[in-house]
Symmetry: C5
Subunit: 364 residues, 5 copies
């Protein structure tokens, strides 16, 4: 559970935000960093893997490009961060948000200033996936300018591969639209990746229910709580997306085109649908706990009933056997020939009467 | 439970919406598709079962028709979808919504453009019914234009039969009103079909209560949860209808006539009434769980009390019998003639005293 | 429980609303219908029991009448309904609402048209009363015009008798005010009748608590749930009244006079007070369940403790008795004269030590 | 519990509000009524105990008085009520509110008319105190005019004594401010008297926790519920105060001075703080119930474990003793000299092995 | 628990607010008071430890200073309070708020007057820290003027040390910004100090879960409730911060610069993130309780099963041994040579059959 929500916050009291010239002095993590740049216009596309960032940043952007998407996978190289931050004039608070994990999804509109990029939109969200049976979240940061999209991810994951594919297809809607449509598509891919996860939760819930009803093992309550915690984590990541997208939709922004606006409404519906499903599964998980507890207590009852049965039948018989083991000198029954068979008969009759009584009371 | 909320979402990262020329390449399902077209005006009505869609779409609409209702039952034939989508210029996102099951109920107003149909209202909702004792939901999509209503359903169900009947009746309110009144009537039929379902839930709850009080079988908790899940599913389908109808009512729209507006208020009241009842039944179902758990533990107590009784009465007597079975040489009682009858007397008196004690403490 | 919320809704898909000429063809129920008409002005009052409706409707209303109140008790005679609906031009949806039981409380303002009555206010609410120990609700519909109030009730009940009385008193506030004040007074009587019901709930809760603490019988959980369900039903009937009265108060309406406005505020306060009390009693009922469960388990504990006590004391003694009942040939203790008294001493000492031990651990 | 929320409402259907000439005919209660009148201005103060109300009401108010506070303790004398109601032209609904106990806290602004007093503010609130270990509430009604404050209380209580003291002190803020500041001070005294009550609740919760952990007696659940009910009652009395004060603050009113406005903000903060604390204590009380149930079941477990232990150890030994008490003629062990000591050895070894086994499984 | 939320409120009925001339007469507490004054401008900084307050207050403020921060650690010296209150003309209500512990976080804007300081912002918040394994809160009051920040703390704590450090660094953002940025930084340090606390809660929850699953000791429920109460306390302290910062952000105020506005948005996000995490941990703590209860009952079941097993196996065998210990004269089995070995065989076979039966029912 420790790693449930990993806190990696700055030292309390430290300066808020990270200035451009401070970046390079930050301790970089380990792990590879891969940068790629995709330029496209309705008619042309160029995909470049960037190894020499400095050279890339000094070059001019081609004239034909209508949208440029620079994606950074891996946040460990601080020189990369500094280069991009300086080039695109990123806000100190935004840089801090990129580098700190487990930010709450949010969006910021930095407006009014003359800088090339900064006066634009900044979005933080979380890509979710199931890895090793556990829900993993990865922070994704997206900057949106008039013609540029800048994305930062912790690792190199695959949920955007299909988008890269669609950009390559001539005539696709992505190619013919502006940068905000690309940003929308990236968000859409992240949101849509929640549906298979929810389906896997549905499967887990179903499996758990079968196991509980078949044989209520002690460990199942833990697995139910694991499911609950995954749902909690998903809600934590998705819930704020609702207001983020709702705000994006409500507030007109120079960078967001009209087509994108209609599509954002669709995205909003998807997010609300996911939240509804999360709440539904949370209620189902609660019911599973109830079923589990009730099923454990039912098994307990069954065991208790057998104890009652066997105990209650034999205790009087044992008493009777004890009686005829007494050593009184004057003991008339002991001398009779029929006494021993009669003893067995009495035992049998008593046992049968008790069994019938129990059955009539539905205890058996 | 697996099929509780069947997820059938597009591959994450796939392009949002479905373009008209993409439709035909989609994998069509199995199952029959039946299309019918009803044209009516206050004075005239014509019902046509369409087998050759292409021919139908190429024909002109009769002059006298004030409302045309094309209903498609079955979504498996992609050529049908494409024909209608092209003819009526449906929005790509709307086509996606029709084809994906288990959409959240919603409505979209596509406005401002000049196309014949697209700049109109699009509604997704769910028709509910009880089949094989389980709540089944079927997605229903409704397009509303100025003089045209287009509906898509997964299967051919019967909840709209009475509406078809009412259209045939000359002078009925349906005949004398516009297309929005037809759309309202379709929604009304769907919403009103919830009342018999709720009544069946009421019956199930009543039956469960009787069973629980009579004899708390282990399986009942499952049936309670089944009821709870059906209520959850119903709420999932009906809850968003509230805001859909509320928005329809609030926002004036060119396609919705004045008469329809008053009737929408009535529909809204019905939806709120259904939501109220769902919440009420959910509380009742929760109480049933409580009753069940309490009833199981009461039966348990009854069994335990019998064990206590029999055990507690015989344990001391067995000890006494054991005492007089001891083989001590010096054992004065053993030689007395009155010893054996006295033993039985002591046993009887002890048992009676204990029984009286238990009764006085209300344990019996 | 079946009759908890009796559903009597129209067949799904049937036409919404009931046209005036359809009414007479509806199946009328059984039961008597009694109609009365009260005309009053500050100076004069006339109360008439109407037996011949047709004649009554054809007559002109007296000049001096400032308010006319026609009250219909019993909804079984469809000709009565049709006569009034035609005379006062009632809205088809309103007629449907009157005839269908268990409508959610609501109000409708039909405005703008020239008809005498229809362009006015329509209110549905529920009169609650305790009959045979159960909460019964009766639907009450009120139409308010400029100078006319029309009320429909299922049965002839007595909560408005005091209002009829007050009308007869010359100089009373009712006499000197307009029709809206009469409508307010009718609502006020219905709302105020909730207070004695709440008091009876308070009594039932108190009684249940006493019973639970004295002797937790198995049936009590049912009575608690009965109370809960009555509270649920009351909330279902009262909750929407809040927004009904709040809307009446907020939206100025031509029919509602200024004096009535101030009094509506008071009525609103009463409704909120009732809702508060309902929620309070619901929480108390929840606590009662807790007390019940805890009390049952406490009694269970008491019984278990006695079992433990008696069992634990006698089991070792029985073992000891068994030991000296063994038939070993070499058995030194058996030959001693002191052996038998010593055995009893050991038993006594063991039992006393165990009792002391249990008492020290507070088990006794 | 009966007296939890005493209902004393008017007969349902009775006329709302109480007219001035009706007051004297109402049944007055028993109990003393004490009326005092305090006149003050920054420079002067006069406190008068009024015994002859009629005389007092006919006298003119001194010229120098900037604020007059008439406080009525005890509501049993209807002539007093009528005198004041007529003199200050109180609204019939306000009079009804004063006389009916257990009103929900609220405020009313009667505006626009020319009467001396009526067109002003009317406030109902509840003074809380702990008496005999139970939370008692007493309804307090406050009328605020431009230069007059009129208060009605059920009994003569002491929470305003310090205010009377402060009025006597020359130069105090009360003396130099207007009537609204006096009304604010009265409310502030009532609200602040909640803090000691909350502290006593905190003490009770602490005490209960100690008792539960030490020794979970059956009666404790009742005391927890008592605490919960007191908190419920307090919330019932304080919750509406929030909106009352919030409205007073928001809506400018001719009678409320600017200084009072700032102080009302402070009062609002106090009320919110009290509500927060009530909710916190309610959660703590819920946790106490959990602790109690868990602690009872833990004690139960402890007892069960001892039973298991003793039972499980002696049952096999008793069986062995029984075996050697059998009377078979061919019974080789019985003849051996070592048999008897060996029997004891086997018993001892068995018991020790079982004890070790239990300890290893942490059952001991 | 007593000290959970220590109430230290003024005597009910006492005058609200504390006038300047009343301060010195208040009972000062014990404990040291340390006052420091930091003056800074982008180019210069001066830090002074103030021992002679009177002398300090009489001196003029240096010309170069753009921001002056006077911080008072310790509230026991009333002369200090009076000196500053008079000098900076603090509002009586604000002084009361500083001196009373456990105020709800809030902010007040005193505007419109001409005084040097008073017409500015006043903030109350709580610094949280873990001391001795318990969450401790310390009230912090901040006054913000145009060029002055005045802070009051109960003790001398270290969360602002890093801010003092950053002020000393030339060119830091703090140095180049105005007083409102300093106030923001102080709040930011307090809010950010919550993250390590939340991490420690996460560790405690993890540890508790491990302990519960390993071995459910009776005391663990208490530790879970301790965690819950700490979370409750944290929520109590942080929840109102949300609306405080939200209001600061929404309402433009002369004292809050533009840069600070952007940073306040970031601070708001942090507070919301903390609230989200608190709610998440509260749900986890609830699940822990469930796990604990379920784990305790599982252990109980395990013990019960062993009792059932041993009891159920030996009870019939004991009965059999009892049978052959009977003293009937006619007892054919007793004389057989094979009888004794056969008895053992029967016992063995019975025991094995029962064991197999139990295993097949998964009871073992």
């Amino acid at each position: 559970m420790k790693k449930y929500i990993s806190k990696d916050q700055s030292v309390p009291g430290a300066a808020p935000g990270i200035e451009h010239d401070e970046i390079s002095s930050l301790p970089g993590g380990t792990g590879e960093v891969s940068i790629s740049c995709i330029d496209y216009s309705p008619g042309q596309v160029s995909i470049e893997k960037i190894s020499d960032l400095e050279n890339f940043l000094s070059r001019h952007r081609p004239e034909w490009t209508s949208v440029r998407w620079i994606s950074v996978d891996g946040l460990s190289d601080m020189r990369v961060m500094q280069g991009l931050a300086t080039k695109y004039n990123l806000h100190p608070l935004a840089i801090e948000d990129i580098l700190q994990k487990d930010q709450r999804p949010k969006f910021e509109a930095y407006g009014g200033e003359d800088s090339e990029f900064m006066a634009r939109l900044f979005l933080v969200t979380h890509a979710l996936q199931i890895r090793d049976g556990r829900l993993q979240n990865e922070q994704v940061s997206i900057f949106l300018g008039h013609k540029t999209v800048l994305t930062f991810q912790e690792t190199c994951s695959s949920e955007w591969d299909s988008i890269r594919q669609r950009i390559k297809v001539k005539g696709s809607r992505l190619r013919s639209n502006d940068a905000s449509f690309l940003a929308y598509s990236l968000l859409d891919a992240i949101v849509d990746s929640c549906f298979p996860i929810l389906e896997s939760f549905s499967d887990r819930a179903e499996e758990l229910e079968t196991l509980i009803l078949e044989r209520s093992q002690p460990g199942l309550i833990n697995e139910i709580h694991q499911l609950k915690r995954d749902l909690l984590k998903m809600r934590w990541a998705i819930w704020p997306m609702r207001e983020v997208i709702s705000s994006l939709q409500r507030e007109p922004h120079e960078c967001i085109g009209e087509t994108t606006h209609i599509y954002l409404r669709d995205l909003y519906d998807h997010v609300v649908q996911i939240i509804d499903l999360i709440e539904t599964y949370r209620e189902i998980a609660s019911d599973l706990t109830e079923t589990y507890v009730s099923s454990v207590s039912n098994r307990m009852n069954e065991i208790m009933k057998v104890l009652t049965l066997i105990g209650t039948i034999f205790i009087p018989l044992t008493f009777l056997a004890g009686v005829y083991g007494m050593n009184f000198h004057y003991f008339p029954e002991l001398d009779q020939v029929w006494a021993y068979p009669a003893f067995w008969l009495v035992c049998l009759v008593t046992a049968i009467i008790m069994l019938l009584l129990f059955r009539r009371r539905h205890w058996l």
